[in-house]
């Protein structure tokens, strides 16, 4: 029991500490692929510290919601990230939050972020919020359908159980799993505002979605929101890794050696996925806003198809 809590707290600290490193690594790899030297991998940590120390400027008509939202967004994203097994399964909170809870917690964060965008009453905030909710209306059902497929295959909605199932003898090559993987990747690209859905480095009004919602934030509020965004990317990569590439994850009640192996495996998975993500981003261009629903619609169709094909490929439980 206490070992489970220890694992859980270690995981909470781990995801918090690793998230800016992941952002830094992504930026570095991208710069290298574009034949630049790029900033240091630890630059996001320095950026966060700098932002926290800066004076916070808030619009005159911003309300308490504007000032409280960053903390609530960060907290919900962090709790969701702690629910995803990274180096070990069998977390103590897995009895409280399953995959559906993770999707819904991210939904809460998005809801508050969209409201914060609307709070000051500028048109940029409106653009960001309305586009974000439009993307969410397709991305969230797509993710839920992919999650349903996995739950139907594994017989449980808890991520630890799904991960353990995929590690076992029954988890294997399956058309539904492949379709669910593609759907999850598309949703991850959409939800984390990566190319081809949104450019994380732009401030042009026609092209920004996430940046538009946080345009008015500065100082420590901005630091907290940036931390939440990098946590979200870490969450999605961990989710895909723990389900589709589960090897190396320490099982329930394993020893310190297994933890070390798990940590190493997790770091390796993060590195590989970050590289693949950046490779994909440099290979494609950003889509026009109204082609993104087509893109996300594909994810929804794939998820639905995966669930339907599930009934074909497997004897129902």
């Amino acid at each position: 029991m206490t070992q489970e809590w220890f694992r859980q707290l270690l995981q909470a600290a781990l995801v918090l500490g690793l998230a800016p490193l992941l952002s830094g690594a992504t930026r570095k790899i991208r710069a290298r692929l574009l034949r630049r030297r790029g900033p240091s991998v630890f630059q996001p940590y320095r950026d966060l510290l700098k932002l926290i120390r800066k004076e916070t400027v808030v619009a005159e008509n911003a309300s308490w919601l504007f000032r409280a939202a960053p903390y609530a967004i960060f907290a919900t994203t962090w709790v969701a990230a702690t629910l995803v097994p990274t180096f070990a399964t069998g977390l103590s909170l897995s009895g409280d939050g399953d995959v559906i809870v993770i999707v819904a917690l991210l939904g809460t964060a998005r809801f508050l972020l969209a409201l914060a965008g609307l709070d000051v009453g500028t048109s940029f905030g409106g653009i960001g919020s309305s586009r974000e909710m439009m993307f969410a209306s397709l991305a969230e059902p797509a993710m839920l359908m992919a999650v349903f497929t996995l739950s139907l295959i594994a017989g449980s909605t808890q991520l630890s159980a799904i991960s353990a199932f995929m590690l076992g003898p029954n988890g294997g090559l399956n058309i539904s799993i492949a379709l669910a993987l593609v759907a999850l990747i598309i949703v991850a690209l959409g939800e984390n505002s990566r190319i081809p859905v949104d450019n994380p480095a732009t401030h042009l009004e026609l092209t920004m979605v996430h940046e538009a919602m946080i345009l008015e934030y500065s100082g420590r509020h901005l630091a907290v929101i940036e931390a939440a965004a990098s946590l979200k990317l870490l969450l999605y990569i961990s989710l895909i890794a723990c389900v589709f590439v589960p090897w190396g994850t320490a099982g329930d009640g394993a020893g310190a050696v297994a933890y070390a192996v798990g940590l190493g495996a997790y770091a390796a998975k993060l590195a590989v996925f970050a590289f693949l993500l950046v490779l994909f981003e440099t290979a494609v261009a950003k889509m026009r806003v109204f082609r993104v629903p087509d893109f996300l619609g594909i994810a929804l169709m794939l998820g639905l198809l995966a669930t339907i094909l599930m009934f074909v490929s497997k004897v129902p439980r």
Binding site: V58, W64, A75, G97, I100, A104, F290
Partner: protein
């Protein structure tokens, strides 16, 4: 101890309903002074709270100890049987709890009504009618209560008769309510059979499946139209906004639940064992209702009409749960059927809480600003802080986001959907994932809808003078809304108690119940088994609070303490006019373009003058209400055409009338002769 007498609880409940009926004529006199109005609402609140308590006692009493009272009034050869059984008790708790809090709101809000005489007599009668429907254990009192409910609410809808829009809403409502009542009458008649009695226990003995199929269609038409299933929903977005705000809350949050109760009673209890295909029309209609309801809501910029359309969506979610339960029950899977039914009834409870809260909030906004149109509101979070907090809680809860209660019922529905591979029929097994996709899509769209509703009304800058001059509402209204908000949170973090209370209902209706939840560690809920899924609302809420507090503390510890207020950054292009902010229509534009171009044939037309021309540029958006045009308009045209033709009978000559009479006489003689 009163509990020892089986009939005592039923007698208490019946006397409560009788008191409410008695309040109606008293209301005529009390309406002359504001104090009388307040006292009437206070009396309603207390009686409803009492009824809720009685119903809760019934829920917690084992079924064998319940008894009904028989009154020898009613149909010539029958009696009236009144009493709560577990099914009606569960609904009675939900309905009376919400009604009590709404009446508390009305103590503060209702005193300012312009014509209280049009509202006061009918309000207690409305509540009395709803409770009579729940209390009824025979078809006659059920239908009497149903008609009372419809007519009293119609009178309330027409109370603000000065606008043509309200009058038209009342007409549509009356026609559809009458149609629904007729369908229910036919359903009960079929169930009772040619020689049978109308009491529920007599109907249960006479159940047969062939009749049951027709009863399913009639129940979908009758109870479904009152609840708001597509395509019989058209009266809902017209009538609910037309009534005064607390009555809108009652109609949307409470009366629709009575309709759901009617459906459950007819199909799950009285119609006998279900056939395998019964769930398919229910699921199809429910799925379409869910998706269409939220899309209609997204296109609206009238706050109350948006909420009314959203009720349609939530009724769809409830019926998805009911359809799943029906499918599992027909397939012999008792535990799964219990889970789906728990999900549906939990959502009934949740919806009565948050929809009432949202309607009360919009009522406060309407009183404070005189505006229902979101395009004229904005920035109210500064002027009406308490209303804003309560409305925010309602918005988060209705978008099915943790840690509030909307998420729990949606989670339970998803868990029921994930049990669908056990269903025996292939069509059901493939239909249920599609319904799951529709549910997920509408949940995400609902979140977007309520970002729009809250953001346009309360956030941003005020778009009109009325919004700038708004003031917070009175004490009673504020407390009522905060009580609803607190209940939303409580039901979200302690769902085990609610699930356990519904246990006796599922035992009665589908024959099995979920394992007791209240004793689990950290108040988790584990509906099926621990290896499969579990949800710990309390622990998650505590973790979120701890994380927020820890983050805020640590960041502020290291941060610079200064927070400077300055004009908005707006990328360096600030605009002082509040008209440049996003409006409700512009917020919905991306979704309108993606979904609306198919569902509503939405088209945008832009007329741009040439450069140098000082004429105004115009944007016109065309939206077609496809269901009205496809379903209602042809029926209306048909009826009007037939009426026109029959009108000629008014203008015949005397010779023609004599010929008609003569022809009727001859035909009657022929009929008598050949018999």
């Amino acid at each position: 101890m009163p509990l020892s007498t089986p009939h005592c609880l039923s007698q208490l409940a019946a006397s409560g309903v009788g008191l409410l009926f008695a309040l109606a004529p008293i209301g005529i006199f009390a309406a002359r002074r504001p104090l009388g109005i307040r006292l009437t609402y206070a009396a309603c609140m207390l009686i409803c709270a009492g009824l809720a308590g009685v119903a809760l006692l019934v829920l917690l009493t084992p079924a064998s100890k319940l008894g009904f009272i028989h009154i020898p009034v009613g149909l010539p050869l029958g009696r009236t049987v009144l009493g709560f059984d577990p099914l009606s008790a569960a609904f009675a708790v939900i309905i009376n709890l919400a009604t009590a809090i709404i009446s508390g709101y009305a103590i503060g809000h209702g005193a300012h009504a312009r014509e209280p005489l049009r509202i006061m007599p009918f309000y207690p009668a409305f509540i009395a009618g709803m409770n009579l429907v729940l209390l009824a254990q025979d078809a006659f009192s059920f239908l009497v209560g149903w008609e009372f409910m419809s007519l009293a609410s119609w009178a309330l809808v027409v109370s603000e008769h000065n606008s043509a829009e309200n009058r038209r809403a009342a007409l549509v409502y009356l026609i559809m309510a009458t149609g629904g009542g007729l369908a229910l009458l036919l359903a009960f008649g079929l169930l009772a059979g040619p020689g049978g009695g109308y009491a529920f226990d007599q109907i249960r003995l006479a159940a047969s499946s062939g009749v049951g199929s027709i009863v399913l269609i009639l129940a979908l038409a009758g109870a479904g139209s009152k609840a708001g299933l597509v395509p019989l929903h058209a009266w809902l977005p017209l009538a609910h906004p037309a009534a005064p705000s607390h009555v809108s809350a009652l109609m949307s949050g409470v009366m629709t639940k009575v309709a759901v109760y009617g459906f459950v009673r007819l199909i799950f209890d009285l119609a006998g064992p279900p056939l395998w295909w019964w769930s398919i029309p229910v699921l199809l209609v429910a799925g379409i209702t869910t998706l269409l309801g939220v899309l209609y809501a997204l296109m609206e910029h009238d706050l109350k009409r948006l909420l009314a359309y959203h009720t349609v969506e939530n009724i769809g979610i409830i019926f998805i749960g009911l359809g799943l339960s029906l499918a599992f029950k027909a397939g012999g899977l008792g535990a799964a059927a219990a889970l789906a039914l728990v999900a549906a009834i939990f959502h009934v409870f949740n919806h009565s809480l948050f929809k009432s809260l949202l309607f009360l909030g919009s009522g406060s906004v309407l009183t404070a600003t005189g505006e229902r149109d979101m395009e004229h509101l904005g920035g109210l979070i500064h002027r009406m802080p308490v209303t804003a907090v309560a409305f925010l809680v309602g918005c988060i809860a209705i978008s099915a986001l943790p840690p509030f209660n909307g998420f729990v019922s949606e989670w339970l529905t998803f868990q029921a959907i994930l049990l669908s591979p056990q269903l025996p029929q292939w069509i059901q097994r493939l239909l249920v994932p599609a319904i799951g996709a529709m549910l997920a899509c509408s949940a995400a769209l609902a979140a977007g809808c309520f970002v729009k509703a809250f953001g346009m009304t309360f956030l941003g800058r005020p778009r009109s003078g009325a919004a700038t001059a708004a003031r917070e509402t009175d004490r009673w209204s504020r407390s009522a809304m905060l009580v609803f908000a607190a209940l939303c949170l409580l039901a979200g973090v302690l769902p085990g108690f609610v699930i356990d209370s519904i246990g006796s209902v599922t035992q009665m209706v589908v024959g099995s119940r979920l394992s007791p939840q209240a004793a689990l560690p950290w108040f988790r809920i584990i509906p099926i088994n621990p290896a499969r899924s579990a949800y710990g609302g309390l622990l998650l809420f505590v973790m979120i609070l701890i994380a927020t507090a820890a983050t805020a503390f640590i960041v502020r510890r290291f941060a610079a303490h200064s927070v400077r207020r300055s004009p908005a950054w707006d990328c360096g292009f600030p605009d002082a006019s509040p008209a440049t902010q996003y409006t409700a229509g512009s917020f919905a534009q991306p979704i309108r373009r993606v979904f609306g171009s198919v569902v509503f044939r939405a088209r945008e037309h832009v007329t741009m003058p040439k450069p140098g021309d000082t004429a105004v540029a115009k944007l016109r958006v065309d939206l077609h209400d496809t269901i009205w045009e496809a379903f209602y308009a042809p029926v209306i045209r048909l009826v009007e055409g037939a009426a026109d033709r029959l009108n000629k009978l008014q203008f015949l000559t005397i010779r023609n009338y004599l010929m008609l009479v003569f022809a009727a006489l001859v035909i009657l003689l022929i009929v008598v002769g050949t018999l």
